[in-house]
Amino acid sequence: MRLNPLTVKKLKRFRSIRRGYWSLIILGVFFALTLCGELLVNNKALLVSYDGHWHFPIFHSGIYTGEDFGLDYKSEARYRELDDFFERIGSDNFVIMPLVPYGPLEQDFRAGEYPPNPPSFERQHYLGTDSLARDVLARLFYGFRVAMLFSLAFVAISFAIGIATGCAMGYFGGITDLAGQRFMEIWSNIPLLYLVIIMRSLMPAGASTTMRITTLLLIMCAFSWVGMAYLMRTATYREKAREYVDASRVLGAGTFRILFKHILPNTVSIVVTFIPFMAASGITALTALDFLGFGLPPPTPSWGELLEQGTQRMDAPWIVTSTFVVMVTVLTLVAFVGEAIREAYDPRKFSTYQ
């Protein structure tokens, strides 16, 4: 694929802005790690070597029971115990656990203790547990994956609606524009939270988690496209008045050709510069809803839910602190990327006085 020389120049400029470029790389690596997160944070073993055979529980479609490894129960093998067991009896068998040997939904209750429990390296709860004895690090890790996937879908859908509406309003103008503006003014004033709560009460009790998340996503998108539509409307107005549009019209281009071949490519800078900010606002909005208890259905791992627990349990400072640090780091990285993209598309050269 050959890129437009202008695009290449912009990419080069983006790369030269170190802070934003490295932020993007760090975020990308992080996200890639969470996508194959089962290998890093999981309560299933990576590898069990038992009686000379190697087993890979994570990639095994069924489950291995305790009996498969010489234990006396028929439920799924508890790999952490298995590890200790092999070590104790000193056999050649061994277990390799992931870096963090806990799942995001797994509850690690121990006799005589009342969770939340503080961070402990010995137990490999590196950031402690929450009030339901679930590992905080595992929940933060998978919470990041959920938040990123959610927010990417959020950006894609609300941009699609916003760009289509804004373009139509700017291009056709007149009554379309006027009606659209009035509608958007009304629409953007309706409290989002109100609809989220109503939708929740409408949800049938047996609705699946996927369906609940999709509904939440759609409601949030339905209220977030307005800003993009305003921007696109102005941009389309500006582009439509330029001569190249008139020229292509004279040459016989139809509305669709003008819109998709001429106007949209010329307004792409607005779309691109807006992506990081929209992604950040998606993460923030989702966390806020989770914090209020109206977001993702439990027990989906989420940052907002951790924050909520943390504010309830002030005696467990590790919950709020670790969530805060992770969330601020991610959002700051996103902001750096956004700033760098903006600068790459719209470089300002300043003269300074000495």
Partner: protein, 352 residues
Amino acid sequence: MRDYFIRRFLLIPPTIIGITILVFFIARIMPGGPLEQALMQGQMIQQMGEGRQSARLGEGSNITSRQREQLAALYGYDKPWYAAYADWLGDVAQGDLGKSFRYQIPVWQMIRDCLPVSIYYGLATLFITYGVCIPLGIVKAIRHRTWMDTTSSILVFAGYAIPGYVLGALLLLYFSFDLEWFPKRGFIGEDFEGMTLWSAIADPDVSALRMMGSLLWHSALPLCCYMVGSFAVLTMLMKNSLMDNLAADYMRTAVGKGMEFRKAVVKHALRNSLIPIATGFGNNISLFLTGSFLIEKIFNINGFGLLGFNSVVDYDYPVVMGVLLLSSILLLLGNILSDMLVAAVDPRIRFK
């Protein structure tokens, strides 16, 4: 220009009607409203009273149809939704926002009760934010690319990325619970609750200074959270717009003809770079009052935002409508105010 603003003002009522009619309609057609909740509660109370005997109720409840009608009339559900909306609108036109379903007190009284808190936080945030951001932005622009600019940029970006309520949770944790430097929740100390500033000044037992002290002590942490969001945007706006102007030809001329740099900045560049700052000012008017219910929730401040949030959660529709009405009027007025300010500070801009 005048005609433009008159037209803008005339557009407010239809927009308000559009917003309220939509929300009213949704509230009415959705299940789980106040009527159903009241019916369910009544049923539960009856069942508890009569023990297991009423378990035979196949057809539903022991509430008679007459009682049901009374309840419906109480909540205004005896009419179709458009008639009920017309009633509501008529009452609003006469200055009556109705009564809260839940607390049975007038909505206007509930809103009025939380206004002092919201106005206090709104004003304080406004003053501190503008008071800090404009000087900081100026310094950052003049000292562009020095260590001071770079470090403060990182702080500003981190501040931009932190949602206010998340910071609130952290501050509460460390400064209120661990160190106990600040009170945990609430707007003002218990000794002063229910007092207005005026009655405190008049009352010789309570020193007004002590009351102000208590107020500041209680509001220090929430104010940090309110500020953290708007802080970054305003500082960067100020910096960038001043940098644009510093690079402008008229500045080079001024410095070139021998004007002192400091003087040139204050007299020429600064004035021009305040234009974009003025643009955003009008939006403060709605922020000001509605604030952030998340911050209010964390610190348990009974402000306007929390009132709106609680009413939505409780399905208290008269309060929902009242809060919505007030906040959307403020938002629309704020937008117009912004445009007016832009036109006022920049004579080149003409609205048609």
